[in-house]
Symmetry: C2
Subunit: 474 residues, 2 copies
């Protein structure tokens, strides 16, 4: 059954949560007294729709139903998950939790997006304290996988399962602490950065460059300790710490002290930030950020590493069934076109059609038994020839699908005719693809075994009765 | 004339510098008394050779000449750039600088890789203080673009020019300060991380995950301030700081205090790190890291953003000449195969051949005048058909080249026959490509103007005399 989430507080974070749930097939009710809520949420959703679905090379789930209800009690009534993202003031949060717990299901999960409060603080005076926990996300919530979970172990375990199902990476924090884990680092860096600006050592742009051209690239994939483990080399982590250790007592930071946020300092930062980024509107910056994140995440997915591994696992979990009915052209692919496939002509680069057809061919391979286990066993198919004919342009964010007619499946040969369509049925591109069964040991062609041959014969038999597509005769 | 660098100190950082210079065509002499230096440097070089050249889609420069000389005086004698990467002890560095300045050219640049010392400290007692400056790199030096430059303005300006030419991103630090800029942030995060581990709040793996699944992904592309500018939304940076501001005085960090590095704490960290990463050798981790970095950097390059923009600019600077002699098959592409083009069969995915041929086709387009300015003016070529025949497998790190025979260049039509070879001449793949001249406004075919038509005619005339390749008749 479709699950439902109630989002309490419809700002940037609440909107990000709404998008994450909706685009993973949950129904969502947003509750916020602000009359601008619907517009704000729709703006976040627009960003999310053009980025999140393209992270996966799978088809995406049917989007859930979005509704708005200013009555908090009504909004939470049937929800499986209730997410509080109201302002960071404890008395407001307590009031909201009280109202939620009067109205919600006893088995509902009640997460708080708080950056700083501990669960014990959130739970003060609650009717059912164990139901309330910290589920701290990172902006943009629809793209960044990390969620810090802090609270009762059983509640966190249930929350982890639900979040994993919507593609997130829940990190259960072992013991409650102010600001959980990540924000303690952000706080430390922020303090140091304020001093550097106040003292005129660096501008906002120079600080950003010092991060994103250097250690930011390392941290996106390995974090702090694994990076240092590598830097330490064969001598090991303990040796590395001993080397690095003495610097700790050097006066390299001004962290012991807090700069006063005078109007002058705030203005200095705002001016520098305008100088650095003012040529882009916030909307433009959001899209630049999202396109960058999608590109980095998709890159890490291809390496099956870090945040990319989360995507690989999510994709495996949401993998569509192989086509069952072989008496008609096979629906071998359904997907959204990602931003990183676009070229200087403003459309999907010709080479990416090859990737779409390569993926479609993989599905037919799997149907006859050439799956990852088969490949790991040392046998596979290699493509030896592709005739690709381009009919119409394809753009990022578009949904497309491929139907495949198996023209030949006998001996070592697999000849496939793929047609790629835009959602709605317009023909975009065709590919006549010849694959040959190979040994991965000799890297030469060889006959498949009897089991695969039987599957190929059945497929060949069923598909040979189909009329050839009009486009094939072109 | 080929430039030369002397690398004083052949550890991980010195080795990274050597690789960066060598693979950008400089000659390099390494000087280090350690008898293991040659082996150590060759290991770093092996890593660099499999990652750095694949960052660019251009051909790579001829690698420089590497030599070793234990005599520091001999090593620095003719060098344009001298880079000191000896241990972080001021008296050792002073001794090294004294010996360098007795022997080196007066116009040589003398950079120090120091993480912590200020130029004024390095220059103490030097014969020519202004010649010595901080050039602080980030590991792995052959991949990460950032270099912090601190020192005399004229020296830093010269250093910036030289480093930009080898693809780096020099950041001139406005005023000297302990640990420059980036390491102050690293120091702050490191302190906080030690406390979290000591207090049992998180393990090394949990801390790394809290970084790389969340803000690490943001920092790889926008850094700190631009990220917060976006998060702040339309209300602006000043408003954002005011919201965030009060937290500064909350007790969210333990930075005021330094944890004692007891044997017990060091062992705890080492054990956790083994648990987290011990299944990979350091060599494996280096390659995983490098493949991830290449993937992220290439992704950002496609977005022309951050560290990727540095690559775009470097690629433009090192762009090869268009083929001049049109009386023979055109050499339209020379490149190294990047890691992110490999698929589950352990070889270059079929779709990436399409990309190679798409890039080769672009060169022919440029030769007849369809360059970026032409495309910006609203006219371009679209590919309508590709027949790709795969002959042999291609692997990451391999050098390949493409020769193109222009079969037809008249009216709206451009028909190209591309052959892709492995370095050495083995045929890997062929592509018969048909392109059509289009208006980017109507997205329909149209005739090119007389200037382009004349260039096409000349190309057609010259190439029509060439014999057809044997592979074309297959």
């Amino acid at each position: 059954m479709t699950k439902s989430a109630a989002i309490i507080g419809g700002g940037v974070i609440g909107g990000g949560w709404a998008a994450r749930f909706l685009l993973n097939g949950w129904n969502v009710i947003v509750s916020d007294p602000d009359p601008e809520t619907e517009r704000k949420i729709s703006e976040v959703l627009e960003n999310a729709r053009r980025s999140l679905p393209a992270l996966l090379d799978n088809s995406v789930p049917q989007e859930g139903k979005l509704s708005f209800d200013t009555s908090l009690g009504e909004a939470v009534k049937d929800a499986d998950w209730i997410q509080e993202s109201v302002p960071e003031r404890l008395e407001i949060k307590h009031k909201v939790f009280a109202e939620i717990q009067v109205n919600c299901r006893k088995d509902a999960l009640i997460g708080s997006s708080t950056s700083g409060f501990k669960p014990s603080e959130l739970q003060e005076g609650a009717a059912n304290p164990a139901q309330i926990f910290v589920a701290h996300p990172f902006n943009p919530v629809y793209l960044l996988p990390l969620i810090e979970l802090v609270g009762a172990p059983q509640t966190c375990a249930r929350a982890k399962t639900a979040l994993t199902e919507i593609g997130m990476k829940p990190l259960i924090v072992r013991q409650e602490i102010d600001a959980h884990i990540a924000d303690r680092f952000l706080e430390a860096v922020w303090r140091e950065a304020l001093w550097l600006i106040k003292d005129g050592v660096a501008t906002t742009e120079e600080i950003d460059d010092a991060i994103r051209f250097g250690f930011g690239l390392r941290w996106a994939q390995m974090g702090l300790f694994e990076t240092y483990r590598v830097a330490g080399g064969e001598a090991g982590m303990a040796h590395f710490i001993e080397q690095f250790g003495p610097c700790l007592s050097w006066p390299w930071t001004k962290l012991m002290d807090v700069p006063e946020l005078t109007d002058e300092l705030v203005q200095k930062i705002a001016d520098q930030s305008d100088q650095q980024s003012g040529m882009h509107s916030i909307r433009e910056l959001e899209r630049i950020r999202d396109d960058n994140l999608v590109t980095i995440l998709r890159g890490l997915k291809a390496r099956n590493w870090g945040a990319g591994q989360t995507l690989v696992e999510h994709e495996a979990r949401t993998k569509p069934e192989l086509p069952q009915d072989i008496s008609k052209p096979l629906n071998t692919l359904n997907r959204v076109i990602p931003i990183d496939w676009t070229d200087y002509n403003g459309h999907m680069n010709e080479s990416r059609y090859g990737l779409v057809f390569s993926d479609a061919g993989d599905i037919v391979m799997q149907m006859i038994g050439a799956d990852q286990t088969y490949i790991d066993g040392g046998l596979s198919y290699f493509t030896v020839e592709n005739l690709i004919q381009f009919r119409n342009e394809t753009h990022p964010g578009e949904k497309v699908y491929v139907t495949t007619h198996v023209l030949q499946a006998e001996g070592k040969k697999l000849r496939l005719y793929h047609e790629m369509f835009r959602d709605g049925g317009e023909l975009l591109c065709t590919c006549n693809q010849l694959l040959i069964h190979v040994s991965l040991e000799t890297r030469r062609s060889c006959e498949p075994g009897p089991e695969m041959a039987a599957k190929m014969a059945a497929l060949h038999e069923a598909q040979s009765k189909l009329p050839k597509s009009e486009s094939l005769d072109r």
